[in-house]
């Protein structure tokens, strides 16, 4: 539990770094590090499949997409972020964390839940039998993504 909490704090720190760092490439790497830690957290929650997906897809594929975009959009001029934000963000965020902790403390034991039934079968069975409709949805969303990229990068012939 201690290790888990430490890892969770690590995820939050790296995520905040990803948002605050000025250099885009460093932000992308911080995001990848956060995903890596999150994947390890998933493994320790007995969720190896989710952990694998988080590490290979989010820390891997999505980071690559980000780096690609950063390379393709090097415009030469940097976007000046608001100076107010630089010290306002940490303050507001810490305030948010404090409120978050207080709310969670007050909610301890207040959220009712039905007794959980035992889960049957292996992960494969759950994914393919119980959540089959979601798989159809996954295929559809992948098609949507592919066609979107094709449409947005198509060769522009003369149009209006």
């Amino acid at each position: 539990m201690i290790l888990q909490t430490a890892l969770l704090i690590g995820v939050v720190i790296f995520s905040v770094l990803a948002i605050l760092l000025r250099d885009l490439l460093k932000s992308a790497i911080a995001l990848a590090a956060a995903s890596l830690l999150l994947g390890i957290i998933f493994f320790r929650m007995n969720a190896p499949y989710a952990g694998v997906f988080e590490i290979s897809v989010v820390a891997g594929l999505i980071t690559v997409l980000f780096v690609l975009t950063i390379a393709l959009t090097k415009t030469g001029e940097e976007v000046r972020e608001s100076r107010l934000v630089k010290w306002a963000f940490p303050l507001v965020f810490i305030a948010f964390i404090v409120v978050d902790a207080l709310v969670m403390k007050s909610l301890l034991g207040q959220v009712p839940a039905l007794a959980a039934g035992a889960e049957s079968g292996s992960f494969g069975e759950v994914l393919w039998r119980a959540r089959t409709y979601d798989l159809v949805g996954q295929i559809a969303v992948i098609l949507a993504g592919v066609f979107s990229v094709l449409a947005l990068f198509r060769k522009r012939e003369k149009h209006d």
């Binding site: 207040q110 959220v111 009712p112 839940a113 039905l114 959980a116 039934g117 393919w128 039998r129 119980a130 959540r131 089959t132 409709y133 979601d134 159809v136 949805g137 996954q138 295929i139 559809a140 969303v141 098609l143 949507a144 993504g145 066609f147 979107s148 094709l150 449409a151 947005l152 198509r154 522009r156 012939e157 149009h159 209006d160």
Partner: protein
Amino acid sequence: MIILFVVLPLIVAGILPLVGKVSRRVLPDLLANATLLALLVFAAVAGRPLIAGGPVLQQLSWLGEAVNLRLALDGFSLLMLLAVSLVGLAASLFSIDYMEHYGAKANYYALYLVMIAGMNGLILSRDLFSVYVFLEVAAVASYALVAFGLGHDELEAAFKYLMLSVVASAFLVAGIAVIFGMTGHLDFAAVAAGLKELNAVPVMAIASAFFLLGFGLKAALIPFHAWLPDAHPSAPAPISAVLSGLLIKVSGVYAMARIFLNVFGLTPALSTVLMWLGVISLVVAAFLALGQKDMKRMLAYSSISQVGYVVLGIGIGTPLGIAGGLFHLFNHALAKGLLFLTSGSVQQATGTRDLDAMGGLAKRMPVTAATNLVGSLSIAGVPPLNGFWSKLLIIMALVQAHHPAFAVVAVLASVLTLWYYLIIQRKAFFGQLNAKWAAVKEAPFWMTAATVLLAVLCVGIGILFSLTVTTWIQPAADVLADGIHAVTGSWGF
């Protein structure tokens, strides 16, 4: 075989790029429209006999193995499927001519069919998470469709739409996680039963708030509407028609109504919130529409206003109110789809959306002017068109449920609606023919055909409103009015 509503558009979308390499225009046009026509025939003809004996629950078997594709078709879903097929087909026919100068037609139709598949998938879902998955399918397809022209305005609108939409989706999943945490289930029947047993009002209020935020943004209710007035005008006209006519209703109103009425159960508190959200959208958006110079922007604000009407009707919770709300949802889908299509015809002919620059187009584009008039009067609620009857039902329901103030506001907002629609009609079509437009021609065949189809439906449903209500609207309203029982009774595992 109701899975066909989802799978057929997906398969055709999958092969469209290959087809597009062979034939750039004819085959994609043919394939896409044939698919939508098939879905329309299926919904219109085979739908009602299917549900005659109660909701249909599908459990498919594939290659000998029982695959757990759990779908459900009842009166409410069927009404939505019909609306999606009708407006989807009309906008697709319109695209045959309109999308010529955008290029990449096969790609366009592929995205379009995926969006339709996403909407149908949402409608047929029995499971909270599947609702989210297919909502995202339709949304991802719609971002690229809004940006399809690749101009600055379209890209800006699509980006803002995407950003706001993703935040809404995050809240939706948060709400789903809370419900999952409480009940341990995700499918409607088990969740409804579990929530009734737990009766945890404060936590359900939090989950409801998350859902309101998420679905409210998808439905573009005020104050979550900021993305719509940019996204709908910038998109190509047939996409604006589908977005305003279908997507905000399927992703927003249908999902909200299904979850709030059939899974949570409409409590008086929830009813009040929905009614206030509805009436605020109704009034504020109507005022905002008045000041617009851009034709499509005015239509966009009108969509926000009319969706407010629908949510107001459903929020009343009485059978009459729900029936009125659903009837108005259907009518608005047809009429707003029609109006965006005619605006596309005007935009293509004149090259502008600025109302002040137009004038007297009725002389050169009589069919477009006539169909635009039908659509405008329908939404404004002028008898004997369809919009009149649905608005009347909602107002009657408000009076019956002892909300006379709301009823008066609704009537006044209707007058306002009529006003700004007549402004469009007058500025664009009637009046002196602006010299610039002396040479414009009527819109090409498929574009006029699509608008005439929708206009005829508006008139026909208006005249045959009683038949429409008993055949299509009443079964849908009954499902919602049943509340939780509609889901726990016959959908139970």
